[in-house]
């Protein structure tokens, strides 16, 4: 089935099988490998993108269902420089291997849009469905909180208790 979507501001058309998930469509048919696929079960959140402005796990959406919609992947978040949220992740060491990062950025983008001054508890709830095997989450929470404060340097995360 032929589908047309707008991805990161560009209109793209391609043929795809009905069983193709939106995640695989973005990765393999459009080459947007920033869409990370961890589980294909809706469990890890790494494939999260913005679909018509709201976060969605792209492994739990068929590409044919997304026909006609507007999608932003991590590739669309930066222009010539990193977005303030991405810059905050960089500054606060909120990633190690980076596998979870595109999904974290997507849910954090939605959180800060809907709730520009989240509490730490609200940040933790917002990312609770996104698994990170590397960072221990602390630096991710710090980065999101700092971005909410307008991207100030903030204090670097304290090292874990010995």
């Amino acid at each position: 089935m032929r589908i047309t979507v707008t991805v990161n501001g560009r209109t793209r058309s391609a043929d795809c099988e009905p069983r193709r998930t939106l995640a695989d469509f973005l990765r393999y048919d459009l080459g947007l490998t920033g869409v990370h696929v961890g589980c294909e079960q809706g469990a890890c959140g790494s494939c999260t993108v913005l679909l018509d402005g709201a976060t969605a796990r792209s492994c739990c959406v068929l590409a044919v269902q997304a026909d006609g919609s507007d999608i932003t992947t991590v590739e669309g978040m930066a222009t010539t420089s990193l977005s303030p949220l991405q810059e905050s992740f960089r500054r606060h060491h909120a990633l190690q291997c980076g596998f979870c990062t595109p999904g974290m950025l997507a849910v954090a983008t939605e959180l800060l849009r809907d709730n520009p001054e989240p509490t730490e508890a609200e940040i933790r709830t917002a990312i609770a469905g996104n698994l990170c095997r590397c960072t221990g989450y602390h630096a991710i929470v710090t980065a999101i909180a700092a971005a909410a404060r307008g991207g100030d340097g903030g204090s670097p995360p304290s090292p874990p208790e010995a």
Partner: protein, 281 residues
């Protein structure tokens, strides 16, 4: 894993969906339960009937009931001022269904039709005596929540039937609710959860509704506990007796998440907490 091949039909109307379902298709709404099952090849339907674009998305007070279209997104229902005002227990329960990304896509009808015994929505709708509209080849029929949930992922929906709407009778304005959920992480599927709605008049319980999720093959309405509360003052002893009666009505099994005995104990603990919250108003 990748899903096995299937044909895809995008339904143009509820009637067209029923026609396509009749030929052995499976309905696809928000996909938040179905697509993981397809990806794991736990389900291998020949035809997937996409109903997600059908305009069954109303959220309205309709006389003495709240009317929800089956294709209403969970997030739309959760954030609706109408739902918050008319059935606050439902609005609060919705915040516990998965994560925001899941609620952005998942639908109220999909959660009901999926009939996970630990799901929040089926239990709340059972507690509040909701009724479901079902469209089939011979027209629409109405099924009470009490008669709808038949077993683990089993409902009164026959092959070829589409859930189209949900009506929730409005609780009286004096009703107070309480809910208590036990899960591993915020917004995970519950291990066990309890939903209560209580009306107090002159210091005694005039009406009580209690439903337990995650402690049996279906959500369980704790009728004996409700009867025990009616006409009594909600003292700690009375609430404890009701909690024990609710636990006695459960029928849990051992699984990877928790042993049956633990779920039954938690049903009592959570019922007591939910009732305490409700009567504290």
């Amino acid at each position: 894993m990748k899903a096995a091949p299937f044909d895809y039909v995008r339904a143009s109307s509820a009637e067209a969906a029923v026609e396509a379902l009749r030929g052995g298709g499976v309905a696809l709404a928000g996909g938040q339960s179905l697509i993981p099952l397809l990806n794991a090849r736990s389900r291998r339907p020949r035809v997937v009937v996409d109903v997600s674009r059908l305009p069954l998305t109303r959220i309205e007070q309709d006389g003495p009931a709240l009317a929800l279209g089956a294709l209403t997104r969970l997030r739309a229902a959760e954030t609706s001022p109408v739902v918050r005002r008319t059935v606050p227990l439902l609005a609060e329960a919705l915040t516990h269904v998965g994560h925001v990304s899941v609620r952005n896509r998942g639908t109220v009808g999909g959660s009901v039709a999926h009939a996970d015994p630990a799901a929040e929505l089926p239990a709340v709708l059972l507690a509040l005596d909701a009724v479901f509209s079902v469209l089939g080849p011979d027209g629409t029929r109405v099924v009470a929540a009490r008669d709808f949930f038949l077993g683990r992922h089993r409902t009164a929906l026959a092959a070829g039937e589409l859930l189209t709407g949900i009506r929730v009778p409005l609780p009286p304005s004096t009703a107070r609710h309480g809910l208590a959920e036990l899960s591993r992480r915020p917004d995970d599927l519950a291990i066990t959860a309890v939903f209560t709605s209580v009306v107090l008049a002159d210091g005694v319980v005039a009406d009580a509704r209690i439903a337990v999720a995650g402690a049996g093959p279906t959500p369980i309405r704790a009728g004996a506990a409700e009867n025990l509360l009616r006409g009594r003052a909600p003292t700690p002893d009375v609430l404890a007796a009701a909690a024990d009666a609710a636990a006695a009505a459960t029928d849990p099994v051992d699984d990877v998440h928790a042993p049956a005995a633990y779920r039954r104990d938690m049903a009592a603990v959570l019922t007591r907490r939910a009732l305490r919250e409700a009567v504290a108003g």
